[in-house]
């Protein structure tokens, strides 16, 4: 019996630890975003509360919690209140299958190693859209509804690409489990210095995952559900106070989760050189460093790229990302089955770079002829 109680205690400690770490990461992310964007725009950014303004987010959060909670008279009472919570919960739950380190003694640094692993993350991701859709519908107002309709179309479309982009990882790793995928990426470096991470063997899928991940989290340049220049605030226009804070929190939680998944699936998770000193700490540091690398990319893109038009967004998802992901899954399958003299990683890497170049070519500004086509009357879908 003591064993069970001890297990539960350990689990509780881990849950609380992960929760706290996530909250702190979110606070840091928001602060980082404001500072980095400010830097890129040659502004100063928040620098008053705490050292370098680190505690600014905390102050904002406290302010939001004490703000008056306004509910529009048209709103659906129940769903209006539930929507932010629905948005939050999957964001937290998704993190529970991510291994953020290797082990503390006999305990693995992961809340649960499900055998469906990353599928669970996809499942949670697919639930997020309910938060947005319900928020938009329950507000009983037009702009939020438009944001909700847009986002349901967008998120479903990009979910497909996101799911497909993980398929290649599953195929090469031979498992869906997050810990298994991390384990499959360990091993002696190729040529002595290239790690066996899937970012190399599955480079096109890495790009697809990153792009669809940005779209799934509704971040710029795919932030159409809350496009402030068109829809006021999008799905959360009517929200204020605590409920708005929850949406805000969920958005950044999602960034952290997507970064963590990308780290796990493509950057070897907590894998990295670890000195003998404090062996449990280094993997966690590696993991954190990789996650913050992705978070930086998110922020960087937001500061750099303008928002897409909605029809181009859908075109990009359906006509570029999904075909590329499908083609690459097919290539991976062939490479895995066919006997070749070349080592498989090299082959996959080489084909991957080629395909990635092809994918990137779609991001170049379209030619004049295409532009003419798009602006021709009746030539494009509004």
């Amino acid at each position: 019996m003591t064993g069970t109680v001890w297990d539960i205690f350990i689990l509780l400690v881990k849950v609380v630890g992960v929760f706290a770490a996530l909250m702190v990461t979110v606070l840091l992310t928001i602060w980082l975003e404001r500072r980095i964007v400010a830097f890129m725009q040659t502004r100063v950014g928040p620098n008053r509360v705490g050292p370098f303004g680190v505690l600014q987010t905390l102050a904002d959060g406290i302010k939001l919690f004490f703000k008056e909670d306004v509910r529009p008279s048209n709103a659906d009472k129940l769903l209006y209140g539930v929507a932010p919570v629905i948005m939050m919960i999957p964001a937290f739950l998704a993190f529970s299958v991510i291994p953020f380190g290797f082990a503390f003694g006999s305990e693995r640094a992961q809340l649960a190693d499900l055998n469906v692993g990353l599928l669970f993350v996809l499942a949670m991701g697919s639930l997020q859209v309910y938060g947005i859709v319900l928020a938009g519908w329950a507000s009983g107002s037009n702009y939020p509804l438009l944001g909700a309709v847009r986002s349901s179309a967008q998120m479903i479309s990009y979910e497909i690409a996101q799911g497909l982009s993980l398929v290649g990882v599953f195929m090469t790793a031979g498992t869906l489990s997050a810990a298994g995928i991390v384990a499959a990426q360990q091993g002696d470096p190729l040529l002595g210095f290239i790690p066996r991470w899937y970012v190399i063997f599955q480079f096109p899928l890495f790009l697809v995952f990153l792009l669809s991940g940005i779209a799934e989290t509704n971040r710029a340049p795919f932030d159409l559900p809350e496009a402030e220049s068109e829809l006021v605030g999008g799905y959360h226009t009517e929200y204020s106070g605590v409920k708005f804070a929850l949406f805000f929190l969920a958005e950044y939680l999602n960034i952290v989760t997507v970064s963590a998944v990308a780290t796990t699936a493509f950057l070897g998770g907590p894998d990295g050189p670890a000195p003998d000193f404090l062996p449990w700490l280094w993997p966690i540091l590696w993991f954190a460093a990789k996650v913050f690398f992705f978070i930086f990319i998110f922020i960087w893109l937001r500061a750099t790229l303008p928002r897409l038009r909605f029809d181009r967004l859908m075109d990009f998802g359906w006509k570029v990302l999904i075909p590329v992901a499908l083609a690459w899954v097919a290539v991976t399958a062939v490479v895995l089955v066919v006997d070749v003299n070349l080592p498989r990683p090299v082959l996959l890497g080489a084909i991957g770079v080629l395909l990635a170049l092809l994918l990137l070519s779609f991001l170049l500004p379209s030619s004049d002829k295409e532009k003419a086509d798009r602006t021709a009357p009746g030539g494009s879908t509004p």
Binding site: T4, L79, L114, N115, V116, L119, F120, L122, A123, G125, S126, L127, V129, Y130, V133, L134, G136, W137, L145, A148, V149, S152, A153, M155, I156, E159, G163, T175, L176
Partner: protein, 173 residues
């Protein structure tokens, strides 16, 4: 009863009534959006049952496909058409509703009776054998060996569905 069996029982006792209540609510509520949401909750209960039956893959797929994609599309259409409010269905034929309720109850009794008679005598199949090598692996294995043909024909079904959606959705000149 081991502690894990106890836990399973507790989860089942929570999920089963919830599943029935949400299913009934889905049929009885007049608000289309609430109806769709109750169905989503029902899908979650189903996913929970699958987990209890150690079919984690099916549970994940249930959530991803049904709750995450299909029902979102339902909501999408409901919102696009603006059918958020009460939908009142008029009875076309007199006595149709009582007759329907009566027949449905009859079907329920028949099926539940047959299930009750059949299930309690049956020798339960071994989960351990079915899930040998892991649930995901076992499903993959059976899809690509015994049920290859059904699996491949399902591909044709999907092609037909896509073409059909295209034909019906295409803007008429």
């Amino acid at each position: 009863m081991t502690s894990s069996e106890q836990a399973e029982l507790i989860v089942f006792i929570i999920l089963a009534p919830l599943a029935v209540v949400t299913a009934l609510g889905m049929v009885l509520t007049r608000n289309a959006v609430y109806s769709a949401l109750l169905l989503v909750v029902n899908f979650f209960c189903l996913a929970g049952f699958y987990v209890l039956l150690e079919a984690q893959f099916v549970a994940a797929v249930q959530v991803i496909v049904y709750a995450g994609a299909i029902m979102v599309l339902f909501l999408f259409v409901l919102m696009l058409l603006g059918i958020g409010n009460e939908v009142v269905v008029k009875e076309q034929m007199r006595g149709q509703r009582p007759a329907a309720v009566l027949l449905a109850l009859g079907l329920l009794v028949a099926i539940v009776g047959a299930l009750a008679a059949g299930v309690f005598d049956a020798e339960p199949a071994s989960l351990a054998a079915a899930n040998e090598g892991g649930n995901v692996e076992a499903i993959g294995r059976i899809l690509f060996t015994r049920y290859t043909f059904a699996f491949e024909t399902a591909g044709i079904l999907l092609v037909v569905a896509a073409v059909g959606a295209l034909v019906l959705g295409k803007r008429q000149p």
